[in-house]
């Protein structure tokens, strides 16, 4: 067991290093930050001086090594765009993204499961068919279009919800939360729906098909023969057995909700790390891009590591294999 964990951890570190290396080799294609950093009145001498100062004249492997040296000490450098430490900026921005991801994840799971069960039980009903058809929109429309549509309907036409920003936030320690004010909660609704819609429809369709499968199983038929009520059969027996694959998928999707909040945050001017990343790309803010990509890869690697360890705990065959090698 211990050897397995060590080996997996070792592999994770290698994955991280490779991600960083690939990222750094890509940065040169994003552009040159120098022109953004110096004003219109820069001379060639200024350009050369700043390039040397930032170490951009060095090969990317050297830049990467320098980044790693700082990163292991928790120092991700200073943002070219804001002139402030990257770690501070990310810490400021993280609560916005995490709260948004939490709310949209919660919406996606609860609504997804509820609608999934409903459409599975009332397979032939009109309502279920309407829901299934509408859910196609959630899967097929791009996020930014859904966001703009929601803004147009609920902000411009109906004047009900704010079109941008987080509303008023309250600081709890270092954590800025929008959960405690009316405007903060209102501001959450549209972005959360936009971000969670795809996951919701995904979960809904997954629950539905699993549920249909389970409802055909022998033990459900047996339960019915025993004369158990529909409620008990559907929710106690069928749903419970449906949830195993759903939980696996949801865990993985949670990572992508955080990672791909970029588009939603841009449309709603949501001040999270995704918007920070977009700004960083446009400005070629290499320290911010590097830190963000590393952070996201750490997140995915950690999730995968946990999943692997869980498999190891659950599946005895893996243990046998490990002993054999």
């Amino acid at each position: 067991m211990f050897a397995y964990i060590v080996r997996r951890m070792f592999q994770s570190v290698i994955v991280l290093l490779v991600v960083g290396l690939v990222a750094f080799s890509m940065f040169r294609f994003v552009g040159d930050p120098i022109d953004n950093m110096l004003g219109q009145e820069r001379t060639q001498a200024d350009i050369d001086r700043l390039r040397t100062e930032l170490g951009l004249d060095q090969p990317f492997v050297v830049q990467y090594a320098k980044f790693l040296r700082g990163a292991v000490q928790g120092n991700f450098g200073v943002s070219y765009r804001q002139g402030r430490p990257v770690s501070t900026i990310i810490a400021e921005r993280a609560p916005a993204t995490l709260e948004l991801a939490f709310v949209s994840g919660f919406l996606a799971i609860t609504m997804g499961i509820a609608l999934g069960v409903f459409t599975a039980i009332r397979r032939q009903g009109i309502a279920a068919n309407v829901i299934m058809t509408v859910s196609l929109i959630g899967v097929s429309l791009p996020t930014f279009l859904i966001g703009i549509l929601l803004i147009y309907v609920f902000s411009v036409e109906l004047d009900l919800l704010p079109s941008f920003g987080r509303g008023e936030t309250v600081m709890i320690g270092n954590w800025s939360t929008g959960f405690l004010t009316a405007s903060g909660l209102k501001a959450l609704i549209l972005p959360a729906i936009t971000l969670g819609l795809y996951q919701m429809t995904l979960i809904m369709r997954l629950v539905r098909s699993e549920m249909l499968e389970v409802l055909r199983a022998d033990y459900v038929r047996f339960a019915r023969a025993r004369g158990l009520s529909d409620r008990v059969i559907n929710f106690r027996h069928a749903l419970k057995n449906t949830l195993v694959p759903v939980i696996t998928i949801t865990g993985l999707q949670l990572g992508s909700i955080i990672a791909f909040a970029i588009i939603t945050e841009t449309v709603f001017q949501w001040p999270g790390v995704g918007l920070l990343f977009i700004n960083a790309i446009q400005f070629v803010d290499i320290p911010v891009m590097a830190a963000y990509l590393m952070l996201i890869s750490v997140m995915f690697v950690t999730i995968n590591l946990i999943v692997d360890l869980l498999y190891y705990a659950i599946d005895p065959r893996l243990r046998v294999d490990a002993r054999a090698t």
Partner: protein, 526 residues
């Protein structure tokens, strides 16, 4: 307490705090100020924002004329032609109560001349800044500099004592790695004080009760809430839904929508920015063309033919939806040296263009690559696409290569493009600025934006001499002569002057400034 009563209570408190006429202006534009350090970033949104909090010695009014701000009068010294003397306004205080005097000016200008400052080029000719007394400043340059005051319109004044007390003597530098105090805090003499700031999210300013210009300017806005909204559609939606009162950068396709909405107005004015194409005319052979062993762009007839092939009116109507003014020279109309005749000189004439091409030895044309930004100017990529079609009519097959600005502009600095789009604004309102960066041969000090590879030592000498010509009529004459060469050589192909669009609630009164730099103290609210 319901939400509504809470809001009423909050706004009532705000009214009491700010006096009888509390007016909040909610202002949005695409980008945020990058830093509050007034000398760290010479960039539009950054200096626009700084203008609300801090002030300069001289500033520009709506027409672009220089008017007094922290300096009440200025003139070259009578004893020494290399010295400019500024008389400072008396009785001005910073937001923290400290008095503004010549010591602060000396400190601020010296700070703006340090290597980490983004404004040092504008002060490159300054030898020394002196304070003979509390309200007089002498700026000595290394030769006579007739347009020195023009360079000071974005040179903000800081309080020396405040900077020293808060470890902000040095301009924010990226290598240092520490969070500087001046990047997040500000202490100016301006009409608004900083209340709170979250970079890229929201900045709140409140009126400065002790502002020296209280009686001079309307100052009807008592609170400013500034929120950057990057996505153009969201920004327009926020204005349409009434969540903001004033937006800059209205996309041209949304102008009618905004103007047609009850209670909203669009105000339009020519911007201080001209869009044009540059060509590599200096290299012996081009890498990106189909002609071997020769550079077709080196022939002035080819350059003229290309200019004649561009239909600027069509670009205005189709690409810009009427929102541009066709240009014949690369100077905006506000600039000293601009000439009405020259600016009207671009004509479309396909027959003449074809004849010129034939005369130059390219009757069948050639192939060329056009580098174009796609996120910098209004409809930049669409303009380039239109130009591709127009140039095809005289046989020039253009491959369009449109990229984000972060990738486009390095092509110019590294001389890796043969045909490119560029836009140029002139903060000094003087042609010398254009010549220094776009006409002079590219070198260490001059010509840093000149990617044409044009090299004319005689013209270079004339450009450098402008800096110290104090006889203004003679100087204007030299400027006209240099322009004549630029026009005759068809150094650039001018396209148009951009037009600025500000969208706002109908009650907001303001005049659109060519610099795209609103100064909220001029705003009126009804």
């Amino acid at each position: 307490m319901s939400f509504k009563t809470l809001m009423v209570a909050v706004s009532a408190t705000a009214m009491i705090a700010a006096g009888a006429s509390a007016e909040t202006l909610r202002w949005a534009r695409a980008g945020d100020s990058l830093t509050l350090d007034p000398h760290a970033q010479n960039e539009g949104p950054t200096s626009t924002f700084a203008h609300q909090i801090m002030e300069t010695l001289v500033m520009r009014d709506h027409s672009g004329a220089l008017v007094p701000s922290l300096a009440t009068e200025w003139a070259p010294s009578e004893e020494n032609p290399n010295v400019w003397v500024f008389k400072l306004r008396e009785g001005v205080t910073f937001h923290d109560g400290a008095e503004f005097d010549s010591e602060d000016v000396v400190f601020s200008l010296n700070r703006a001349m340090t290597p980490d400052s983004d404004y040092k080029e504008l002060l490159a000719s300054v030898k020394e800044v002196r304070a003979p007394d509390k309200y007089t400043i002498e700026i000595e340059t290394d030769g006579p500099n007739p347009i020195m005051p023009n360079n000071l319109t974005n040179m903000f004044m800081m309080d020396k004592g405040w900077a020293e007390a808060n470890n902000a003597v040095k301009v924010q530098d990226y290598e240092g790695g520490e969070d500087t105090f001046a990047a997040k805090n500000a202490n100016g003499t301006g009409p608004y004080k900083l209340v709170s700031r979250e970079p890229d999210v929201k900045t709140v300013l409140t009126a400065n009760e002790n502002y020296w210009g209280k009686d001079e300017f309307p100052l009807e806005v008592t609170e400013i809430i500034y929120t950057p909204i990057q996505n153009a559609a969201t920004r327009v939606a926020a204005l349409l839904s009434g969540e903001v009162d004033f937006i800059q950068d209205v996309p041209v396709q949304d102008l009618e929508r905004v103007a047609g909405t009850d209670g909203l107005d669009v105000r339009t004015a020519p911007q201080n920015r001209v869009i044009f194409f540059g060509m590599n005319m200096g290299d012996a052979d081009l890498g990106s063309d189909s002609v071997d062993g020769a550079n077709p762009l080196a022939d002035v007839r080819v350059r003229q033919a290309m200019s004649k092939a561009i239909n600027r009116d069509a670009i205005k109507q189709v690409v810009m939806r009427g929102q541009s003014a066709p240009a014949g020279m690369i100077a905006p109309p506000f600039v000293n040296g601009w000439d009405e005749g020259m600016d009207a000189s671009s004509t479309t004439d396909l027959e003449a263009a074809k004849a010129l091409m034939a005369e130059a030895g390219y009757p069948d044309g050639f192939t060329l690559t056009l580098n174009c930004p796609n996120d910098r100017y209004i409809n930049d990529e669409a303009i380039c696409q239109a130009a591709v079609g127009m140039l095809a009519q005289i046989g020039i097959t253009v491959n369009l290569d449109a990229k984000p600005k972060a990738q486009h502009f390095p092509l110019l600095s590294n001389l890796e493009t043969d045909f490119y789009m560029l836009g140029w604004g002139v903060p000094t309102y003087d042609s010398e600025y254009i010549f220094n960066f776009l006409v002079h041969t590219k070198g260490e000090k001059y010509g840093s934006w000149n990617a044409t590879r044009y090299n004319n030592p005689d013209l270079d000498a004339k450009i450098v001499a402008l800096a110290s010509e104090t006889d203004l009529p003679a100087r204007d004459q030299q400027i006209a002569e240099i322009w004549q060469v630029v026009q005759d050589e068809q150094l650039y192909i001018p396209i148009h002057h951009q037009v600025l669009n500000w969208g706002m609630k109908s009650g907001v009164g303001t005049i659109v400034e060519p610099e795209d730099s609103p100064k909220i103290k001029y705003f009126t609210m009804q």
